[in-house]
Structure formats: C-alpha cells, structure tokens
Subunit: 656 residues, 2 copies
C-alpha cells in the first residue's frame, strides 16, 4: 500500500468526555436497536428460509424490496464486531455467530449469497445490475467480514465473504457489468488488504473502469425487458433518474456519465458517489494510478467548494438523493443523507491517506461533528435519513413526497433503513479515523481523547491524546516509548482555527503549517508531550455569495461544531432573529443540557413587527428589541419537543 | 335580488390608458389563441363525434381527461361573447355560432351534454360526482349561455343551457349528490337571474346544503368500486386528497368537511373554494339567508387575514392546489393559481354586492392588478397556471413534480388548461366589476377610465370616470343626466391609501369613510364632477410576523400594484439586495418598458460578500455597496428573458 495506513481498531482506545459515551451508546443501544429492527423486518427469517431452500410462504417477509436487505444485516455485523473489540459480551457474540450461521446456510454452493434472489428469482441473478443491488450488498458483506476477522480473529464470516467474492470474480473478472450502486469496490480493496488476494483489487479497479463507457451497461440493461426485475413504479423511477426527457441516457445518477478518470464534478446520487470516490482513492493508493488520483482530487474540490453544506452534508436534493448544481444548497429541503455523510468521512480519510493533506481531515471533522452525528438521536436509537438545516417544527415542504424521509423527529427505522446501521458502523469504528501512519510519520487527523499503539519506523510506540475536543480546544499528546524513537509527529491544524499555539515539552513551537499539519520531527523519548491549543471563540460564518439559501445569513460555529437555534430554547420566531456583526457570544458547558453540551448565548436584534391582525401593512419604524438567543450544536437538534430550527440566521449587516 | 346589482356589460364602456389595450388584446389575441388551442386539442372534434353518435376512432382526441374538456369551450364562448359586446366581428360571430351548433348536435335528447360520457361511457353519467366534473362543466355552459344571451340577445345557447339545466334539476332536485368541483352553484344563480326560473336558484342552494353531511356523498362514492371511472393513478390522487393516512374521510379538499353554514376557514382546493364561497354569497343575497352570509364572511376574514398572498393570490400549495394553514405563504412554491384569482375576484364582487363594504373591493383590486394579471403575458397569448412570488430564473423547486405547473415562462397551454380561458372571460367582462347599483346608490368599486349608463332611483343617469389608475391616483367622476337626480355616489376609498382627498365641483369634501366608501349624497346635475386624489407613493409593505416566508422582508407597492425586482433589470443577485427603511424611491412612467408601465427605482444596500472560492468563511466586515435597484409591476414579470425575480426583498432594519 502506497498511502498512509490506519492503525488497527484494536490498537486504538478512545477515552474522553465527548466520544466515550457516544461510542458506548453505539455499542449497546444502537447495536441492540438495529438488531431488533432486523428481526422485526423479517431479514433473519428470510435468510433462514433461503437456507432451507423452501421459498414457501414468503409474502410477509418479502414486503420490502428484499434485494438489498442483507446489506443492513452486514452493516450490523460490522458494527457489532467493532463493539466486540471493546467489550466482552457473550450475548452479542452469540447473536453474531447466529447471524453468521444464517448466512452460511443461505449461501449457495457456488458462493452466491442473496436471499431475495435465492427465494424469489434464482434464475435472475446478475441480470439486473442497475438497481438490484446484489453487488452493493456483497460489498457490505466483505466489509463486515474483514471487520469480524480483524476483531475476533475468526474466519467463519471471512470464509463466507471470500467464497462470495471468488464467485463475483468468476462472474465479472472478464468484464460484463458493474454495480449500479457502488460500494463493492472499496470493500474489495479492503478484502484485498486483509487477504492479500490481488484478484479482489483487480476487480475493484475493473468495476471502476467499466463506468462511463459509450455503450453503457446500465443503458443497455434499462432497455432490456428481460432485465426488469422490479415493479413498473421502481423501473419508472430509475428510468426518470437515468434518462433525459427526450430519452437520452444520462448516467450521472450512477456516475456512469464519463470514464472515472475524466470526471471532475460531484454528481448524482450522493451515497453512490462518495463510495465510488473513496474507492478511486483506494485504487489510486494501491496501484499508483495518477490519473485516478487527479480525477478524485478534482471531484473533491468541486464537492467541497461548491456542493457541500456547512454541516458537511452532501447531496442537496431528495429528487435524486444527490447533487444538483453548484451552490444549490437549500436549507429546509436539504437531503444531506446520513449515509452520504458516512460515505464522505470514508472518502476523506482515504484522501488523507492518499495525499497526506490536512484539508481532508478538515472536511472529515466538519462532517463527523455535524452532518453525521445529527443522524443519530442522543440515546442512539432513532435516526434521521435526511438532515435539513431548517425546520418550522410543524411540517416539512416535502412531507407529502411519497417516501417521506424528512420527519420532524428521528425515527426508529425506515423502509430503506440504510442509515441507522451505517451510522452505527461509522461511530463504532471511529478509532480508525484518528491516526495515520506512514514510515516514520504519525499523523493525528482527528482530535479525541485516545491512545494508539503502533509501529513507527519499525519502533513500537504509544501515543496518548488527552483532550475534551470539541468541547474544548486544548489537546495534549504524549509519546510513550521504551526507547527513544525518531519520528515526525504530524498534528493536523484545523482549517477553522486562525491562531493555534503549539508547544513541545512546554516550549512554544512556531505553527508552521505544511500540508495542513505541523510537522514535528525529532527524537521522541518517553513522556515527551505536545500541547496544542486551538482557541474556540464562537464564530459567525458566511457562505459564498452564490449560495442563495444562505445569502444575507450567518451560521454560528465553535471549533468544528456548527450550531443552530431551536424554538424550544428561544421565544422569538427564529426568522425574526437577526445577528449583528459585533454581537458577543458566550460558550458554556452545561452538563444537564442535551446529555452535556456547550451552549452558546448571545445578543440578537428582533425584527418582530407586532401581533396585529392585518396580514400586510406599511413598514413600521418601531424600534427593534434586543434579546438573548440560545444556540445548541446542530448535531443535538430535534432531541426535545418539536420546534423550529435554523442553522443560517438572518444577518444584520447594513451599514447605514 | 337583495344585494347590489352590477350594470349589464353593454352599459359599461372602458376607455383608458391602462385597461383599454388589455381588454382589446383579450378580445383579439387571447380569444384567438385559446380558440386555436381548443381546435388543436380535439375539443371541437370530440363534440362533432358525439353529435354523430359514432364513437369510432377516439384515441387521438381522447388523449386528455376529456370529462371536463367542454368547460374550456364554454369559457371561451363566454369570453368571445363579451368580446362581441364591444365590436362587430363576423368571423368571431361565425365561430361562436359554429361552436353552438356543435353543442346543439352533441346534446342528448334529454338535455344531457358532455362529449366524454356520450362517446366513452354513456351508461356512467352522474355515477361519479367526486372527480368527473360533469356539473362543473355544466356550470360553465350556463355562464356562457347567459353571457351570450345578454350580449347578442340570441337564445340558441341559452336553450342548450336551460335544457341541460332542466335535466340537472330533474336528476338532482330531490337530492342525490353535489358537484365534486363547485362552480355550477353560482352559474345556476346566474341562470336564475337571467330566466327567472326559481328552480335553478333552489338547486344551487340545495347543492350547497348537500355538503358536509355526516354520511358524505363523496366518501360513499370513493368507496364504491362501480364509481371508479378513471385510471388508478387519478383515483389514488383523489383518495390521497380526501382521506387521512389512517383512512378517515376528510372532505376539506372539496369543502365537504362541514355543512357550509358551519364553515369558518378557507380550506382545500382554492378554485373549488372560491367558486363555492361566491355561490354562498349569491344564495345569501337571493334568499336572505343570514347564516350563510355570516359563514362566508367568517371564511373571508380567515382567507384575507391569514391565507392570502400580498398579490391577492390564494391557495399556497401545489399538493392540493389549495390552502394549508394560517400564514403558510411560501414564495417560490406559491401556487396562487390564476383560476383561484379569478374565483376570488368573482367572490369578492359578490361580497361587495351582499354587504356594500369597501374591503371587498380592496381585495378585488389587489387580486386583479397582481395575482390575476400576472397570469397572462403582455401579448395575451401565454399564461401562468401557478404564480410564484420568487424565482431563481433557472429552475423551480417543484419542476420535477409530475404535472409541471411552475414553468419559468408563461405557456400557450396546459394539460389542464383551465386558466387561459378563465383569465380571458374575467378580463373581457371587467366592466361588470366596476360599479354596483342599489336603489338610489351608485358605488364605484374599481377605478378605471370608463362610462356607465344605468338607472339610479328610477332615473337614467350616465357616470363618466376619467383616470389613468393604477398608473396614476387621480380620478375624475362626472355625472351626466338630463335632469337633476337625487343619488348617493359611493366611491370606494382604497385600503392602501392613507391620505385621500376628495372634492365635489372643486370644493373639498372631508374623506369620511363609511363602510370603505365616501358617501356623497346630493342632487346631482349634469356635469357635476367628483375629483378623487389617491396619492401613490412607493410604499414598503411588510407582512404579519407569523408569515415566515416574508419575515425580515418588505415588498414594494404603489397604489394597488405590487412590484417585484427582476434580474434582467438588476445586476446584483437579488438575495444580496437589502432595502433600507429610509430609502427613497422614484416612480416614473416609461412608455417603452413592458408595453408602458410605471417603473420604480430606489437605493438599496448590497450585502454581497465577494467572489472568493471558499464556500464558508468567517463573516467579514467589508463595507457594503449602495446600488440603485429597478422594480417593475409583478403583473409584468417574466415577459423578457428568464431571470431571477423577488417580490419580498430583504429589509435592513436593525437599529444598532
């Protein structure tokens, strides 16, 4: 591997005020909640029936579109495996083994595994790659298997995965299609790294290379009546997404519009996109493919400079669950799918691995602390699918859209429940996102109270990070080593921080930023300590003027955390609140609010116009009232009674 | 009739700078354009086939949902008849006669007339009242027939109408249903006034009384498989509109949720609603039904104080083409259907007739000069269905909704083309909306250069109104009479005007406003003249603070005309434009702009924040630029190149 490596999860321990409770809740409440939903939705029952080979009475269990149902089972297995890396839990272990047994039973002799097709349409395997998600599901199996193997050392799930992967290689190694929903590519790279089997990497690259052909696989399939495996409604939905009004194929929705090396914009379905971009970085890393690396950097620049919410959320439109055009970032209808946030974090970590640049860690933390974390309730059992930046607290402009993914409160489950187990596996593997190792360099990409054991330049070393980040901007990094070790410690300097201070063993070091990091090269002895201070004033942030939805507005941000106002904390209608440029804000940790959080308070001007019955009247010159407003982290919104919410507040910035 | 009467159209002549060209364009370009679309869409061909009684090859002509196709034919006949009141046009007369012949031929022996049912499902007549629109179409026939009779004196169309109306009386006089789409009620009252046949008025009242029963006709029909005369998709659409998620019937969409006398809010489909409310006023007027009058006044107060756009537009949501909740008035997705504006004008005139209050004329003129007029292009040949108050000039948030009714430019026609001929018949009968007569009172409800001949207190009198309103606020009203006449002249004092001045024969009169009018009672002799001056400064208007979509914003209004900014006149992105409270505005007539209009210019503050590539950054304190902005009447927007448009502009009104 040419890029920077992530230490194994078992070698990273998280122990701090902010993340420890969240990881614990994920390991327990979330893993439990998702398991129960998997039981209730018949996913295990279908695997059992597929194992028996007797389709029988499938109606109840087949209510949903089962062709991608195992993907949720696999994500749960992955999250449960990570949980087992931190604690012994015989009940959970037994559940994991039970689910693996179901998978072993349901797997066909040739390695194929998908209960929908086995029960429902065994003859139709691999005949519809555009929307039947067989490869997407397979990818999640491969990821779960690697996680399970790394954590437990056991090979049962890995054997299932490699048998299926070998079957996939047999079917697709000579071409013959690509996944309509990406995800299998990065999973194949992961399986390759775990097993050393080059054929998995080759297939990942081959899948990328299949996209954007003039004679598109997907266009051909959509025109082939034999490949229509779904209801007319689903077919029409995909047809609308993949063809222009005049019937011309436009593969943007599935990133099939251009060969990947020629792509330069973030387009189409955001989850498909981020998974594919992550795989592009992976394959570029493993193969030294510069054209692939250049393409994914171009795409990243477009995404981050023109198509990303201030929360890090990606994919603005519910119509295509994805990207539309530059600067089109509506607030109340922001889709910003939780899965796309997870995909973006995975993508950005790989970009950091590929390049060593700190800007990817900036996006990773922006996304983690805002778009991703908002997807899960504080108690870990309810989830948002879409993550809007504005709510009126009573209804949603898209609440009548057939598949409602904009509830006012997080829900236990969705018809397409991709997000809950995806958020779980991301949070339960957070340790893999903190550090990167490359030769004698150790980069700190995310700040979290933690400890990592690794080998740097051949020497074993432990690095302890002590911090309450993002509650507070002070970070202490101590090196623990039996003998002095020559290495470059590379703490990332967050892009949001304008005045960092750095000291090594108490002596100030100039904050010279190289590729987004300070590079501290020296011989480190046991107990050497780096102190980082990233002051966290409350900042008013504004968007590029072409972002219409944020024009004349500001958002509040403290450190990497984006804040919002909620009606439950503020009496005034939020649209009447106006923030002055010189407004002072306080930030204070409140242990009782929202499970303990830093609450922000400040002065605002009210532009309320009275409560007179007339709907329209001449503008009045009444003096405006000044009020104190209270802001809470966006990630914690909608954990109390339903009420209004705004990220972008009106800015008072006229100069008359 | 107990209410105030409208003089016959033939006794009102419009001759002024603002309206004459518009009425002329309606009489010619619009009547011609709609006729051509009726030909092209097969509407006449279907009538011909129905006349022949040989269904034959109907496929092409039956592409649309033909069950309400005749309604457009009838509206065209009504508009064409009005046009013939002003000018002799043998070609148009011949077309009118031709269409009447088609209708005579297509009418069944028992009076029934609807080519869809005759050709397609003769056995299914009257079996589905909820959405098959037979009664709605019949209503438009009755209106056209009265108009044609009044203008031409001929009875051919009236004979067709009364034969059908008598058939409808036979079918429904003893109960047995009500129209799923209202409109026939007010038409029956009109037919009653024309023919003196009380049974038509009785049926109108009976249709109103059928609504809101515990055992709803419509709920029963929707549950009856035999009544399903449409595709599953249309049935499902209506089912979603009429039943809650749990399957409970909720008749609000068709105003069937409560008996009409118990209703108090404007709910459901806005066109159905306004037509029904107009009929409630009509029936209250004719029968002295105080409970009905009180209900419609309650509903009006709710609509006007909580559910009306500043343009007068009604019905905010495309989902139900109607009302949602108080103060929910989004700008870019405003539905504000052109037909609902026409319905509202009809309703408000009847409220004025019923009560004599001036506030109804205020809403009538607000709606006429803004929501209604915006529905028609300046050349009279293209039409808006929905009338949003904001556009980004490039796309619309709802452009992917299956039936696109939010184009960026007016269209020649729509799949459901109710609006084009509806706007035509309203504008071509404008003369009926200017004056009301009641005993020895003559009320002037709308200002327009015009002349009316009528009888006041038994004496023939002519009143000449000379004005360029709304271009200018000066109005001169002269009484022309052979002998002195004792009467009360009641010019309405517009609600938007804070400082009217009034003089009679040059002598100032105190502007004592009674029920929205000044009541000038005296003995008038030939040449007596009332001079009214309604100063028209450019006003900044604000909305009730609960209107989220207008919070912190102001609209520009001059006289009754609401202005908007268009990108084509302004370089700055419109969301960066901020209007100061003390900004000065000029208003100047420009004969070359938009067929001649008063253009408004003023100073605004720009809050643009530079053109740096970063998507998000800390709020900067750069000084803001001052620019001159140009506003044009909202009614004239989208008549040039596609560009941004805003009615509600950002207000600078912080006081720091």
């Amino acid at each position: 591997m040419a890029g920077k490596e992530t230490p194994d999860l078992e070698n990273v321990t998280i122990d701090d005020k902010f993340w420890s409770p969240r990881v614990r809740r994920t390991d327990t409440a979330t893993v439990e909640a998702v398991y129960q939903r998997l039981v209730e939705s018949g996913r295990f029952e279908n695997l059992r029936r597929a194992a028996e080979g007797t389709p029988g009475d499938q109606q109840v269990a087949l209510e949903n579109r089962m062709y991608r149902d195992e993907s949720d089972v696999y994500k749960w297995l992955e999250a449960a495996s990570y949980a087992l890396s931190r604690r012994s839990d015989p009940d959970l272990e037994a559940r994991v083994d039970y689910v693996i047994s179901l998978l072993e039973g349901a797997q066909c002799d040739d390695g194929y595994l998908n209960s929908y097709f086995s029960l429902h349409a065994p003859e139709d395997r691999w005949t519809n790659l555009t929307y039947m998600h067989e490869l997407y599901s397979a990818g999640h199996l491969f990821e779960a298997a690697v996680a399970h193997h790394e954590v437990t050392g056991g090979s049962r799930l890995l054997d299932v995965a490699t048998a299926f992967a070998d079957h996939v290689v047999d079917v697709f190694a000579e071409g013959g299609g690509a996944p309509g929903h990406q995800g299998v590519e990065l999973a194949l790279v992961r399986l390759y790294r775990c097993t050393g089997q080059r054929r998995y990497l080759d297939l990942a690259r081959s899948f990328l290379d299949e996209r954007g052909r003039e004679d598109s696989w997907f266009a051909r399939e959509m025109g082939d009546p034999d490949a229509r495996l779904c209801t007319d409604a689903i077919y029409e939905e995909y047809h609308d997404l993949l063809f222009d009004g005049d019937g011309t194929y436009d593969g943007k929705h599935i990133q099939d519009h251009l060969p990947v090396r020629e792509q330069s914009k973030a387009v189409g379905h955001a989850v498909r996109a981020t998974y594919m971009y992550a795989a592009m970085a992976d394959v570029a890393m493993e193969t030294g493919d510069d054209a692939l690396a250049a393409a994914v950097e171009r795409i990243w620049t477009n995404a981050v400079n023109r198509r990303m919410y201030v929360t890090g959320g990606l994919g603005n439109s519910h119509e295509n669950e994805g990207f539309t055009s530059d600067y089109d970032l509506p607030n109340d209808t922001a889709y910003a799918e939780t899965c796309a946030a997870a995909g973006s974090i995975a993508w950005n970590r790989r970009m950091a691995q590929l390049t060593g640049e700190g800007k990817y860690g900036d996006v990773m933390e922006r996304t983690l602390y805002n778009a991703l974390l908002a997807g899960v309730s504080l108690d870990g059992t309810r989830f948002f699918y879409a993550n809007p930046l504005k709510s009126d607290g009573e209804s949603h402009p898209l609440e009548h859209v057939s598949e409602v993914r904009f509830p006012l409160q997080r829900r236990e489950w969705y018809d397409t429940p991709c997000c809950p187990p995806n958020a779980a596996r991301l949070l339960s593997s957070l340790g893999e996102y903190l550090y990167l190792v490359d030769g004698d360099e150790l980069s700190v990409e995310l700040y979290a109270g933690s400890s990592v054991r690794t080998s740097v330049g051949g020497s074993p070393v432990r690095v302890d990070q002590t911090t309450e980040y993002p509650l507070d901007g002070t970070v202490e990094i101590s090196v623990r080593t039996d003998s002095p070790v020559e290495m470059t410690l590379r703490p990332r300097i967050p892009g949001w921080c304008s005045d960092p201070s750095i000291a090594v063993d108490g002596e100030a070091v100039a904050p010279d930023v190289e590729r987004g990091h300070v590079e501290l090269r020296r011989t480190w002895t046991d107990g050497d300590t780096v102190t980082l201070d990233f002051p966290m004033p409350v900042r008013q942030v504004q968007a590029h003027p072409e972002v219409t939805a944020a024009a004349g507005r500001v958002a509040l941000q403290r450190g990497p955390v984006v804040y919002c106002l909620e009606g439950v904390d503020n009496d005034a209608p939020l649209e009447t609140v106006c923030l002055r440029e010189d407004a002072a804000f306080s930030a204070e940790y409140d242990p009782d609010l929202l499970d303990g959080t830093v609450v922000v308070r400040g002065e605002a001007t009210l532009t309320a116009t009275g409560d007179d019955a007339a709907l329209y009247r001449s503008r009045t010159s009444s003096a405006n009232a000044t009020v104190t407003v209270t802001a809470v982290p966006y990630y914690a919104w909608a954990n109390r009674d339903e009420s209004e919410m705004r990220v972008w507040m009106r800015a008072c910035d006229c100069t008359h």
